[in-house]
């Protein structure tokens, strides 16, 4: 063996055992999941109340989705034939524009996908408008169900990825809780925007709202919270050999 083996990042390992990881995982996940299980009808109601107030609606909630609770919705605005035609043409003609533009390729692809979904939606409303299978009420209920899935996922996912990290339990717990709270607030604001678009602009945008700005976007802030947490640990530990177990 070498007389001296220098510290190298290939040899780094955190001070952690599998048992400690499992215990920490349980502590991060179980209380929040239990709290969500108990509180979710109230959270859904609060969310619906906030949106109801934002639209200055009075009176009781309009929906009571099974298993979900009070869900607010407004009647959707179905597109006219002219609107559908304009949306179709705009989506179709935007494709060559995006291809030729100097916008970075990844962003171009996102815009193209949004255009493609709008194109399909516009075509549907042009050809078979009465066959559109969803109402605004359906959308609101499905949106809330998707939000509940995301809320249930956050403690589990964040717990799994944070538990093996060399940071304090309280800071990890705080990160998970902050992400969950952010999700609830962000989800509520997004809900307001979605209802506004569907009731004030057009139901033709329902597919693109759900598929491009729905659950997929939630990962942005989940990963953002994770990355902020990890970057803070990295800044504290990188120059300190004692922060790591070294493999020799």
């Amino acid at each position: 063996m070498k007389g001296a083996i220098f510290y190298h990042r290939a040899y780094r390992k955190p001070f952690f055992s599998t048992r400690a990881f499992l215990l920490r995982l349980f502590i991060l996940v179980a209380p929040l999941e239990a709290a969500l299980r108990i509180l979710y009808p109230r959270l859904v109601r609060l969310m619906s109340l906030a949106v109801k107030l934002a639209f200055s609606c009075s009176g009781p909630f309009r929906g009571d989705a099974p298993g979900v609770g009070d869900v607010f919705w407004l009647a959707g605005r179905y597109p006219s034939r002219l609107f559908s035609l304009l949306l179709f043409l705009l989506s179709l003609l935007s494709a060559p524009f995006f291809f030729k533009s100097k916008i970075a390729k990844p962003i171009t692809l996102w815009l193209l996908l949004i255009s493609a979904i709008n194109l399909v939606s516009a075509a549907f409303f042009l050809l078979a408008p009465s066959s559109f299978p969803w109402t605004a009420q359906d959308f609101s209920e499905y949106y809330i169900q998707a939000e509940l899935c995301i809320w249930a996922l956050i403690p589990f996912l964040m717990g799994l990825v944070l538990a093996p990290m060399p940071s304090g339990l309280w800071s990890q717990w705080g990160t998970v809780l902050a992400t969950l709270l952010y999700s609830i607030i962000f989800g509520t604001v997004r809900f307001m925007v979605f209802i506004y678009v569907l009731s004030g602009i057009s139901m033709a945008f329902m597919p693109v709202l759900f598929f491009m700005f729905g659950p997929l976007v939630d990962f942005v802030y989940i990963v953002a919270a994770y990355s902020l947490h990890i970057s803070a640990i990295a800044a504290n530990t990188r120059a300190d050999p004692k922060a790591w177990r070294w493999l020799y």
Binding site: I5, R12, F16, T18, V120, P133, P207, P215, V220
Partner: protein
């Protein structure tokens, strides 16, 4: 019936994504918590094997001098070292640059594959011709844009002390990581792929991949296996699976770091990705059943081999999954559960492209990167880009197979200024 098929596809896709999620989670946890297996690189051995270093070059005037300078200064016994830069159909001054080094150093022995030589252009063919001339027991390969460290040849050579090892792979670090957003993203991806993914696969005695550069293999073994397929675009993946099916191991040397250039433009990255996917898919089509039938691999090894072979197929499957979900939406199926589940599984597995975000985060932490980790959420934009170009690469590979078409080798653009 149509709805049933569409639903069945989403269910299948969800299972595939969950399989990859479990795999990458196990890798991350193993790297952070498990026993780490080290390659032999901290053994000092005065009895090093004779080594040949092959550097394939096609129009590499911008970078040729850099790598040859570094290899000339390598810490390896001169009497046991030879370097074969291969001038592969270059039309620039690569040939002249190599000749200057031949005049200066006796152990640099160029091979010129230029007209009237009529052999097929491409890295696999260049390697095959160089192998016929190589005197070393161990062959190390570096792509021309790489910047090897002084001790890396020793690290690679010593790893072959394990007699079961047929090939060794080191770690690749982007030298131009700070150039722009794309290079930073690729640096994150490389970090996750090597520091966590490859190391975990080595720890768990699964299948670390030989990457075609910053690594080496046993010369006689390679010749006995028939050399490289001249039509292969992913000769590195092919070598990995050839070795595994024959009962040899691939070792991963995390300590053996070497710098490379990553693409600096999205167009170059797209071409690189499509070539990798096309080549990898061709290997998948050729070795899928031999892998499953091999008596020399455990069930665990075969399972990991299947997941490794299929790694680039996930993105096109996901693209189809998005189309599938949209179709189900218009057919009246509630989008929540299937799409939410696919999104979640996709988020786990592919947010971060081919190394999930938690692998990249763990790797960045182990590497000591702090600020760059904050760019992780922006990998969302890479997600669709990678999906699209991986799908294109897969389509090209399937067409290659269907119409028996040969692919042409095209190299990645270089960005360093020429040092003539």
């Amino acid at each position: 019936m149509v709805i049933l098929i569409l639903r069945a596809y989403l269910d299948f896709l969800t299972l595939v994504l969950i399989a990859y999620f479990i795999r990458h989670t196990v890798f991350t946890l193993n790297r952070m918590l498990g026993e780490q297996r080290l390659c032999c690189q901290d053994i000092m051995d005065s009895c090093l094997p004779a080594m040949t270093v092959i550097v394939p070059m096609h129009n590499e005037e911008k970078v040729a001098s850099d790598i040859l300078n570094l290899l000339a200064m390598a810490d390896y016994p001169r009497e046991k070292l030879e370097i074969i830069p291969v001038n592969d159909h270059s039309t620039d001054s690569t040939g002249e640059i190599i000749e200057r080094y031949r005049e200066r150093y006796a152990f640099i022995k160029p091979l010129h594959r230029v007209p009237p030589f009529s052999g097929k252009r491409g890295k696999p063919s260049a390697l095959n011709d160089a192998l016929m001339l190589a005197n070393g027991e161990i062959v190390a390969v570096f792509d021309a844009d790489y910047l090897p460290t002084a001790g890396i040849l020793r690290d690679i050579a010593v790893s072959f002390k394990d007699l079961d090892v047929g090939a060794v792979m080191g770690r690749v670090i982007p030298v131009n990581a700070g150039r722009n957003f794309l290079t930073r993203m690729l640096d994150l991806e490389r970090s996750g792929g090597y520091q966590v993914d490859q190391q975990a696969r080595y720890n768990l005695r699964l299948i670390p991949q030989y990457g075609g550069t910053v690594g080496g293999f046993r010369k006689d073994l390679m010749l006995s296996l028939g050399g490289f397929d001249p039509d292969a675009l992913a000769e590195d993946t092919e070598l990995t699976f050839k070795l595994l099916i024959s009962g040899w191991k691939v070792a991963y040397a995390n300590r053996a770091e070497c710098y490379e250039e990553v693409p600096e433009t999205w167009e170059a990255r797209a071409r690189q990705l499509e070539r990798w996917v096309r080549g990898h898919t061709r290997v998948m089509l050729r070795y899928f059943f031999p892998l499953l039938k091999s008596p020399r691999l455990s069930k665990r090894g075969k399972a990991d081999g299947v997941l490794l072979l299929g790694v680039y197929v996930v993105s096109p499957l996901l693209l189809l999954g998005i189309a599938d979900s949209i179709a189900l939406f218009f057919l009246g199926l509630p989008p929540v559960f299937p799409f939410a589940l696919v999104s979640m599984a996709a988020g786990f597995s592919t947010f971060g492209n081919f190394a999930p975000f938690y692998e990249i985060g763990a790797a960045s932490l182990l590497d000591g990167s702090s600020f760059r980790i904050r760019l992780l959420p922006l990998l969302l934009f890479n997600f669709l880009f990678s999906m699209w170009h991986a799908a294109k690469g897969l389509f090209e590979a399937l067409m290659d197979s269907a119409v028996k078409r040969k692919a042409h080798w095209c190299k990645t653009e270089r960005y360093r200024a020429a040092d003539l």
